[in-house]
């Protein structure tokens, strides 16, 4: 979908240059798949980040993913496919189509900050971001959205996933009408147990409420400090269903979203628990 009113397409070779080129008349382009679909009022310049050395995926203690790595780069990375029973790659397989994933970048997706299966899972995994706005800094993905930085000039350069030990499991699931449609609701969970089977740390994130995914702290806190048994899982799911900011839109009613949330959080936690049990076999 060609955009009209664009007078310049720039491909800066350094971060400093890219940052300098961004102002109210320009927009950063990762893969371009989202930018090209929407008219941008007042924007006359496209700043393509494709020439920056940001297309990489390094597996160190955790993962360092350059902002212009495509969703396919992530999906096809063997290390990421082995991380936490492949929870990230399994989720990505349901995001867009292969044609979209070959072009869409992780940085572009996170900077867009809407309609996302990726955001809830990355929040559950405590992902961090590196931003460049003259200097470089690292912050949590949660703070990035909390501070509204995805709507700022700051350039997202890297996504970090922390390592996860053998006592940690995660799961993601979504409810959707048809293949590669946006979710009616999605859930991501992560739990870390201590040696006695007590939940030391939990994350419960629910997205497409239809707001962007956000941690449901009350549900996570309710899981912490006790065993991951059926009753505690059901209680966490009830809390999540009650407190999520469910709204009605053309895809689902608020009431239906709460019902989906109750089932989704419970299933995701069962799935994570099953993964932990599976490792002991």
């Amino acid at each position: 979908m060609s955009l009209t009113g664009i007078t310049a397409y720039l491909q800066p070779g350094t971060l400093e240059e890219a940052y300098r080129l961004l102002d109210e008349r320009s927009i950063a382009v990762g893969g371009g798949t989202d930018v090209i679909r929407h008219p941008h009022v007042g924007v006359t310049t496209l700043v393509d980040l494709g020439a920056l050395p940001l297309r990489y995926l390094r597996h160190e203690s955790g993962f360092a993913i350059g902002a212009t790595a495509t969703l396919s780069d992530m999906l096809e990375h063997p290390g990421l496919a082995a991380h936490l029973e492949g929870v990230v790659t399994e989720m990505l397989r349901g995001v867009g189509s292969p044609l979209l994933r070959n072009a869409a970048t992780i940085g572009g997706h996170l900077a867009r900050g809407r309609y996302s299966d990726i955001v809830p899972l990355l929040l559950a995994l405590d992902a961090t971001l590196t931003l460049f706005d003259g200097t470089e800094r690292t912050l949590s993905l949660a703070d990035y959205y909390r501070e509204g930085l995805h709507r700022s000039r700051a350039l997202l350069t890297e996504v970090g996933l922390p390592p996860a030990g053998p006592d940690t499991a995660a799961a993601f699931l979504k409810f959707t009408r048809v293949a590669y449609d946006f979710a009616l609701l999605n859930c991501a969970v992560r739990v870390r147990l201590n040696g006695k089977g007590v939940v030391e740390e939990a994350r419960v994130v629910v997205g497409e409420t239809p707001a962007l995914g956000a941690p449901v702290e009350a549900a996570a806190q309710n899981l912490e400090g006790g065993p991951l048994d059926d009753d505690r899982i059901a209680a966490a799911a009830e809390i999540a269903a009650a407190v999520i900011p469910a709204q009605h839109d053309q895809r689902a009613s608020a009431e239906y979203r709460r019902a989906l949330c109750r089932v989704g959080v419970r299933r995701a936690l069962f799935h994570a628990r099953g993964r932990l049990e599976g490792r002991r076999l």
């Binding site: 979908m1 397409y9 798949t33 090209i36 393509d48 397989r93 189509s97 044609l99 070959n102 590669y180």
Partner: protein, 156 residues
């Protein structure tokens, strides 16, 4: 703006509007296999290879192709000799109205380059972004599996 790209193996110097999509550029250059089905990234009829990966040409800025390799159906096969993926589509009746066929063939080439021995399920997953509104999905899947077998044989 003016830039170079390698289109179907040939270096070309082209002119494009800075906001132009790769689909519109390719069609202007005469690559009419690149179909404008939805112009919104849903149908996959405009799929081309950008540096070997199948993408929706309608969702990629033309200028992104500067200095890169673009392949369309026009670059497949030689005079009188079809590419195995084209041959299989023809032989196995994987074409009804034909509008989606170029996009499906280009998507299949990306799949087969990365996975020479796909299962039927993997072929179906690879085609998730290619709509056939004649709803003839069975034959294209069979054709891609047949093309894969033939390409493996040729490679041996």
């Amino acid at each position: 703006m003016t830039f170079d790209l390698v289109l179907n193996g040939l270096r070309r110097t082209v002119q494009a509007d800075p906001g132009e999509s790769l689909m519109d550029l390719l069609r202007r250059l005469g690559c009419k296999s690149v179909k404008n089905g939805c112009d919104d990234g849903y149908c996959g009829a405009c799929a081309v290879l950008l540096d070997g990966r199948a993408v929706n040409a309608c969702l990629v800025f033309a200028a992104r192709a500067a200095g890169h390799r673009v392949d369309t159906l026009e670059g497949l096969g030689r005079e009188g000799v079809l590419h195995p993926a084209q041959r299989a589509a023809l032989d196995l009746g994987a074409v009804q109205c034909g509008f989606c066929t170029p996009g499906i063939v280009m998507t299949a080439l990306d799949l087969l380059a990365h996975n020479p021995r796909p299962t039927e399920h993997e072929v179906r997953e690879a085609l998730a972004g290619n709509y056939c509104r004649c709803t003839g999905y069975v034959k294209p899947v069979e054709a891609i599996l047949a093309a894969a077998a033939q390409m493996r044989e040729a490679a041996e």
